[in-house]
């Protein structure tokens, strides 16, 4: 069996369909592992992983840390708001200092687009991109696709709409790449101001009417409105956004079919999705969280396998 074709996981763009299938297959075994009474395997006993978070994160960092610990790796955590970055140290210096402590894999979240790619050209460790600015968030896309496959059996030919703040979303871009690679039809839906100008060049259709988008889709991936990334006003008011693009039970009841609802979290309850929808059985939001650990275990395991001992 061939391993991963890529030396790092920088984005979905850098891997291929076989890689995704290998990651899914491995993740399904890890999902069984994390449901055992003892949820740990010893594979990565002699591997050290640094989680470098230059941008705030709770769930992604916890998910990575748990995945690493389930694989028995040694883990060190670093977050920018309590570090020398504030004292003016460059990215390469910060990372090289950490690597001098013999770290094998770096999981990095960074506010700048392409930070992972840049780092991979300058350091020897394996890099996993845990989100770079508004660019990519590959493990989120993988766990989303894995969750859809688990729920619907396959992704080929399925209609998937990504709703909300596409402009600021790295989840949207990675999702578009991975879902298209696996044969899904992808549309985006949201206020025109939050849809990137050239998104059609990716083969994605834009739908401005939420009801039409819901009518068309099998799966709706609802994104969070990222207020913290908005330097100007992109829509008149949160209330108006909710009325036009928020998912509620009434809108879903009108569909005459049951669609799958996803959300990468954290949820702004009552803004992009109401509580009754988020907690309904057609929402697979908590499955996504569970699958996140399994997918991250698979990615780390498959990359670690390339670090030979001799």
């Amino acid at each position: 069996m061939a391993g991963l074709s890529s030396q790092h996981l920088l984005g979905i763009k850098q891997i291929n369909k076989q890689d995704i299938e290998l990651i899914f297959n491995t993740a399904s075994h890890f999902k069984e592992v994390i449901n055992r009474p003892i949820k740990k395997v010893p594979s990565l006993r002699d591997i050290t992983i640094a989680n470098l978070f230059f941008e705030n994160s709770t769930r992604t960092r916890l998910s990575f840390e748990l995945a690493e610990k389930r694989l028995s790796a040694d883990v060190i955590n670093f977050s920018a708001n309590q570090s020398s970055v504030k004292k003016g140290e460059t990215l390469i210096d910060t990372v090289n200092n950490i690597l001098a402590m013999k770290v094998d894999i770096v999981v990095m979240r960074h506010p700048d687009v392409g930070a992972g790619v840049f780092l991979s050209k300058h350091i020897k460790a394996k890099i996993i991109n845990a989100g770079d600015g508004t660019h990519e968030h590959p493990t989120q896309a993988l766990l989303d696709a894995f969750s859809i496959k688990e729920k619907l059996g396959s992704i080929q030919g399925k209609n998937i709409v990504i709703i909300g703040d596409i402009l600021h979303s790295r989840v949207a871009l990675s999702n578009i790449f991975s879902l298209q690679m696996l044969g899904a039809n992808v549309k985006v839906c949201g206020p025109l101001t939050l849809i990137p100008k050239h998104i059609k060049s990716l083969g994605v259709e834009v739908e401005l009417n939420l009801e039409k988008a819901l009518q068309w889709c099998d799966v709706a991936n609802v994104l969070r409105v990222q207020h913290e990334r908005m330097d100007i006003k992109y829509f008149p008011s949160v209330r108006e956004y909710t009325q036009l693009f928020g998912i509620n039970k009434q809108k879903l009841d009108r569909l005459k079919k049951e669609i799958v609802i996803m959300h990468p979290g954290p949820i702004n309850r009552g803004v992009e999705i109401t509580s009754d929808v988020a907690d309904s059985k057609q929402a697979i939001i908590l499955d996504q969280v569970e699958n996140g650990v399994a997918i991250r275990m698979a990615v780390i395991y498959l990359l670690a396998e390339q670090i030979k001992t001799t």
């Binding site: 075994h29 009474p37 003892i38 949820k39 396998e305």
Partner: protein, 178 residues
């Protein structure tokens, strides 16, 4: 490449019956015993034995499962090519149970060592035994010996022992290849 048949389907059928009887001698009604086939190749043997025990010896409520050891192997990052994991199905707790590991060929003993660690994720068994169809003597890297063996083979290291199962290759047979 020379290939010599060691066992044909008749010989294997007789051996399976004997192994089933030996298991009954030690485990009576199997109330407190579970059979665990080691993935990938031990699963066929475990299923066969379970069928014989249930059909010919009327053992009721036999518990059996399959265990994959990929993530517990000691040659991770040391192999040339990567190994794909297989399914683990153990729908019961092995705490205080007698566990019988079942595999087709015992060679270096390293798979069994990995299985001894892996099974601990499902509880602490009261005892663990090992049943193999073929015991390759003189090739062990670790101090591991089977409790039940179908046939002992003195093969040198370059030689390969190949077990074929009806479920996969239409007929049961064991070959030695050099």
């Amino acid at each position: 490449m020379a290939k010599k048949k060691l066992l044909n389907s008749n010989a294997i059928a007789i051996i399976l019956q004997r192994l089933a009887c030996q298991l009954i001698e030690n485990h009576n009604d199997f109330k407190n015993t579970v059979l665990i086939g080691l993935q990938p190749r031990g699963v066929f043997l475990a299923k066969r034995l379970a069928v014989i025990l249930e059909r010919d010896y009327h053992i009721k409520d036999l518990k059996s499962g399959q265990l994959d050891i990929t993530f517990f192997r000691d040659d991770f990052r040391r192999r040339g090519e990567s190994l794909e994991a297989n399914k683990t199905t153990i729908d019961f707790i092995v705490e205080d149970k007698k566990v019988v590991f079942i595999d087709d060929v015992l060679f270096s003993g390293r798979s069994v060592r990995a299985a001894l660690t892996a099974i601990q994720s499902f509880g602490r068994p009261s005892a663990i035994e090992l049943l193999v169809l073929i015991d390759r003597r003189f090739s062990r890297d670790l101090p591991i010996q089977p409790n039940y063996k179908g046939c002992q083979v003195d093969a040198i290291n370059q030689e390969k022992v190949i077990v074929q199962w009806q479920e996969q290759q239409k007929t049961d047979a064991v070959y030695i290849e050099n």
